[in-house]
Subunit: 104 residues, 2 copies
Amino acid sequence: MTLGANRIRHTVVLTPRHAAGSPEEADFLAAAAKLAEIPGVEAFEILRETSPKNGYRFGISMEFAGPETYAAYNDHPDHTRFVQDRWLVEVEDFLEIDYESRSC
Amino acid sequence: MTLGANRIRHTVVLTPRHAAGSPEEADFLAAAAKLAEIPGVEAFEILRETSPKNGYRFGISMEFAGPETYAAYNDHPDHTRFVQDRWLVEVEDFLEIDYESRSC
């Protein structure tokens, strides 16, 4: 599972504003899961964040074949609409972390 | 590549104190790479961190079959020695993030 040359693993850890385990939280995560349908998104995962060393509660991870695909995702209307309508309203705290191979 | 039940993906993003691209940095990363040899460590990767939205420069990612394997890694003398002798001395800033499946 080593990340190939030029590939980008885009991740974000987050804490929703919703109460843990609430229907509102589940609805938010279900909406986030639809980001997997945007062209170019690979290896999409929504995970629990469980380290006692930070306060984030979930993580989203996805991979792109390269920077052009990542840029197209960022600009895709389904992504920008999700950010505007859901993320900015329902996420209390987050941090984006992107990985690339050391060999490229 | 979805994370299986009970599995843990342990990640850390970091910025070494060393100058970017310096021999000292390469030596530190080479020492970190040897953590892959500790029993129970799977899917080990050292990656560049490239998001403009945070200041970390590298990431390390590994997976464990479950919490017992993760605990054994944490307590392994090769790990505790690396933390004491290298990490605490040579790392300027870091954040640990651990992921688990949402279904377990």
